[in-house]
Each structure stands twice: as C-alpha cells, then as structure tokens.
Amino acid sequence: MSAGLIRSAVVGLALTALLLVVMLASLMIGQVMLSAGDVVAGLGSIGSGSMVSRIVVDLRLPRVLAAVIGGAALGLAGLLMQTLFRNPLADAWSLGLMAGGQFGAALVIVAGAIVGPGFLMVLTGFAGLGVVAGSVLGTLGVALAMSAMARRVGTVTLLVLGLMLGFLAQGLISVLLHFTNRSQGRIFAAWNDATFANVVWGDFVTLAPLLALGLLGSVVLAKPLTALLLGDVYAESLGVNVPRLRRLVLGATILLAAPVTAFCGPVAFVGLIVPHLARGLLGSARIGALIPATALIGAVLALAADLVVHLPWEQHFLHLNAILALIGAPLVILLLLRSRSLRGGEG
C-alpha cells in the first residue's frame, strides 16, 4: 500500500470524524441548548411530536443536512472548475455562475409574481421547481459564456470578468425588484443573504438527486480531469476527448452548484478555498483522490460556518457569507501572493 493511499485514508477518516462531531454540535447548539442525549432521543422519536424531536428533526436537521451536502457540492464544483479552467481561483461564485443563478431565480420569482397567483407558494417555500429551473438556466448561461471566454483571456482577466458579471447580475436584480413590490424585495433579500436555514425537508426531493448526479459525474470524470491538469494537448494525447470532457464537466458543475444556489443562496468562498485545503492535506493533485477530501472539507467548512451563525447570539446580524469571507478572503490573498501564474498577472 502506497504512502499516498495511507494518507488519503487517514485524512478521510479524520475528516469524517470531524464532520460527525460538528453535525452533533450543530444539532445541540441553538437558542434552545440540547445535550447529546437529547439529540439522540429526538432523532429516535421522529414523528412523536415532542418538543425535542421537533427542534432536532424538523428545525435543525434539515439545516444541518443542507449545509453538509451543500458545502460538499460547492467544494466539488470548485474542484471541477479549477481543473477545467486551469485557474486556481475559479469557482461557481468567483466566476459569476452564482450571480447567473441568482438572476435566473429572481427572474422566475418576479415573472411568477406578474404572471400568476401561484407565485406566493413559490416565494414562501422556495421549493418550486421554477426557481430551481431559473437558477439552473442562469448558472448554465454564465457557465457557457465563461467557458467560451476562458480560451481567449488570462487567469486574472477571467476572474475580473466573473466579478463584473456578479455586479451586473446584482444591478439587474435590483432593477427587477424595484419594479415589483416591497415584500417581494424583502423576501428576495433574505434569500440573497445565503443561508442553509431556509431548506425544509421537502426541498431534498429536488436537491438530493441533482447533487447525487453531480457527484456521480465528478467521480466518473476524475480520470480524464487528472489528464487535463497537463493541458488540452497532453490530455488529448492520453486518449481524452477534450471537447466532450469540457461539456460533461460543465454539466456536472451546474448540477452541483445551481441547486445549492437555488435553495441556499449564493454561498461564497466554499468552492474557491476547499479544493486548496484538500490539495494541501493530501499533498496530491490527482482528482480521484481529491474528490472525497474536497466533499468532506466542504461539508465541514459550510457546517462550521453555519454553526457560528446559529450560536445563541442575542442579536441576529451575523451572516453565513460574512463568516466564510473571514476564513476565505485571507486564504485567497495568500494564494494570490504564492501562485506564480496569478502573481504575474496574466498566465
């Protein structure tokens, strides 16, 4: 057994244990503090209608699970995009895919408001497939635009383009909401703040299958993606059909990032930094080895940030993206200073 495999196994086990600990803590901590025993009892008495069971199963567990699968999915999407664009700072957020998803979702919400009376259900539940479809289409549009531009511009230009697309989407969303009514604007703003807390049990019917497909896609694409680390020509010389691989990777990225954006809002930094943490922990760039580590670290990071937000604060001003920015931004600055290709400007 090689040293790399042992290291992967150790890292995987440690991360799994850490994830379970943070999950348990997330179920225990909140405005009502529960003991570990309470949590187990609550999980064991699903449907009993007891207070503890309602807090654990109905209120906290959906949020915890959403953070776990959402964080994992965003981490994986980041890994796929960093490999596809050969850009260490690419992810669904930094390249504007999330902004596209937000814009798509906003369009659907506003269109629903204008078109039909069913819109209230969409607005309140966020479970409507229309929002998911709008978000997926928005993400897809930006993803296609980005992959078309990626071949013509350098690493840093692409990131700036992504940022600008983000601002553009924010502007358009503002304009859209301006011409609807105030309550819609408030609801949209709440969604826009990115939180896993809006996810309810019913949402998993949509969320889980899409993310599972995206995960499956990542695993299947791991081998040719590893070849793509060397660039298009080397990958082709190793028997990879590069144009087809690009399409499939984009598809998997959208399956992973768009549903999370639709249900949880634009969660920043997770997809950007998690693949780097995974590479650092494993000391490897092989995609096959990075997939489990990336998913686990993404889950731990998203859940830990969510836990900080949901500590029993007296006031509720803390946002998920604020916590993630405090961790993510310094890491990104470090990466910028260390990376040869980024420091040089174009590369």
Binding site: V220, K223, A227, L230, S237, G239, N241, R279, G280, R286
Partner: protein, 325 residues
C-alpha cells in the same frame, strides 16, 4: 509503424509542406529541422492525429492515424511539448503514472504492472531520484525528462517531441538529446524530435527531416541532407552561412585579408577561429599572407609585438583592419 503517402500538411487551405513517400521504422531517432513557420509543429500534430491532413494520409499500423480510437492511439503515439503546465501539488511519480491512463479502467486504478512500467520509464530518463518531488519544483531540464518518462510510460511505438529543449540550457539540451537517442535504440520506440539545434541534431540523429520552406520536405541521413546543400538553403542568411567544411554556421563576406598562423595543434585550431571571427581568412602560405601570427611561451606575436592573450591579439588585429580600411 508510420507510412506517409502524398501527405499535404497545413491549416485550412494553406499547404505548408508536401511529403511524398515516407516510412518510419522502429527505433529510429529522427530530428525535424526547419525555421519557424515552415510547419514543424503542424507536421507533428498531423502525425499525432490531432489535426487532419489537407490531403494524403498518415497510416499508423496500416490504419489512418485519425481512424484509431483515441485511447488506442494513445497506446501507440505519445507526445512531449514545449509548454510547462502548472500542475500544483502533483508529484513526479503521479505524473509519470498518468502515462498509463490509456491502459487503465474508468477509475484509473493502477495495477502492479502499471507501477513497474512507470518506475522503469523514470529510470530510463535517469529520473528515479525525482520520484517524490513536486513537478512544479523541478528545473526545466528535470521537468522535460519527467515528461519524457510520462510519454515512455504510455509504451508507445512513436514519440513525437515538439521543441522540448527550447527553454533548456546547453548541457541539458545535449543530455536530453543523447538520452532520446539511447532510448530509441534500446527500446525500439521511434522518436521524432523537432528542434532548433541544428548542429546538435546533425550530430545525434539517425535521420534528418528538413522543412526548408517552399513546401519542400527533405529526408535523409544527416550527411545526405548536408551534402545536398539543403541545410544552407533552409537556414542561410545574408551574413551567416552553413559551412560544409566545419559543419557549423560561419560569417559570410569578403575576407579582410589572409593570415598565416604559425602554430600547431589546438592552438592553431583556436587561433584560426579567432582569425575567422575577425573576418580574416586563414592562409596556408606565409609568403602570400597579409599578416603572420606566431605562438611562443610568451604569447602571440603579430608584426613584432607580443600579446599575452588572444583577446589582446584580437584587439590589435581590429585596429589593423580599421587602419587598412
């Protein structure tokens, strides 16, 4: 192996060169020469099956190269390029093992045989000590050796290398060229290396492919190609010509005068170089020469003066010509 028939290479409708009947045999070390823009990379890409030929065909094992399924072709043809991709936390061992991708299943899991072949490939380029290094920490020369090992791990019949020595210093170029020649002869893999190192290629190659421009293609032993005068046609410039006497490029122009060199062995050889560099011609006869250079334990003598070094001598000769002119 390769059988090329009436192949026209180029992009779109622009034909860069035409190759009539060319075959490549196992174990040949071929250097592909030509100035930029004459189609070296295009020829290699066409041979690799990455781009279509304009007309004619490249057959690889009796089947058009682009008709092979990508994975099967990857077991026959491997490439090494000039570019130095940034690969992050990838180790040399992992990079070389990537060469086994055409043989592994969809998970990319390696068998013991795959690992053994990768190890052997790294040994063939004398890179076993680099095994656990990160690829991004390697020098340019080490990196290209490792890239060659990765190509060898594909167990190809042909390796196509596109100006892989372009970024390297001279010792690395010489070493890598010698390594490739050895690998071709020892393992029977045919190697086609495009290069700008004319003199190095002429010394090392079994066979030269020359793209001299004008759509021509010249194929032969280095000596055939040199004697045909094609190297001069391809590379000569207004003031620099390929000398068939010395096998190197020399300055062209009217000699400033004839110099007789009164010295022996290596001193004579290097003094002749200095004299030619100064634009004089070496003369065999002291009587007809404009200048005579002598050599003694004190240094080099010219017209009664003695100079301790060739540099001082050169300076004196420079003044001499200036005055005469």
């Amino acid at each position: 192996m390769y059988a090329i028939d009436a192949l026209q290479i180029g992009y779109g409708r622009r034909v860069l060169s035409t190759l009539d009947q060319v075959t490549v045999e196992p174990g040949e070390f071929i250097c592909l020469l030509g100035r930029n823009g004459q189609g070296k990379s295009t020829l290699l890409r066409t041979l690799a099956g990455f781009i279509p030929a304009i007309s004619g065909e490249v057959r690889l094992d009796d089947r058009p190269v682009r008709a092979w399924p990508a994975a099967e072709r990857a077991r026959k043809v491997a490439v090494v390029l000039t570019d130095r991709p940034q690969v992050g936390a990838l180790r040399v061992r992992e990079l070389v093992e990537m060469g086994r991708q055409p043989y592994t299943g969809w998970t990319g899991a390696l068998s013991d045989e795959d690992r053994a072949i990768s190890t052997e490939a790294l040994e063939q380029v004398e890179g076993d000590h680099l095994r656990d290094r990160f690829v991004d920490s390697l020098s340019d020369g080490e990196r290209q050796r490792v890239m060659i090992a990765r190509a060898l791990a594909q167990r190809p019949q042909v390796m196509l290398l596109d100006e892989i020595t372009a970024f390297l210093d001279l010792p690395s170029r010489v070493t890598i060229t010698a390594t490739l020649r050895r690998i071709a002869h020892e393992t029977g893999v045919s190697i086609i290396l495009s290069s700008h190192d004319l003199e190095l290629s002429l010394n090392a190659a079994d066979r030269i492919w020359l793209l001299p421009g004008g759509g021509r293609f010249i194929d032969g032993a280095p000596e055939d190609v040199a004697l045909s005068g094609a190297i001069g046609d391809a590379f000569n410039q207004a003031n620099l010509v390929f000398s068939l006497q010395s096998g190197r490029f020399e300055k062209r122009g009217e000699a400033r005068g004839a110099v007789f060199i009164d010295a022996v062995d290596t001193t004579a050889f290097w003094l002749q170089r200095a004299v030619e560099r100064m634009g004089f011609a070496a003369s065999n006869d002291a009587e007809g020469a404009d200048l005579v250079i002598g050599h003694s334990a004190q240094g080099y003598s010219l017209e009664g003066e003695t100079y301790p070094s060739v540099q001082r001598l050169s300076r004196a000769m420079g003044c001499k010509t200036a005055r005469e002119a």
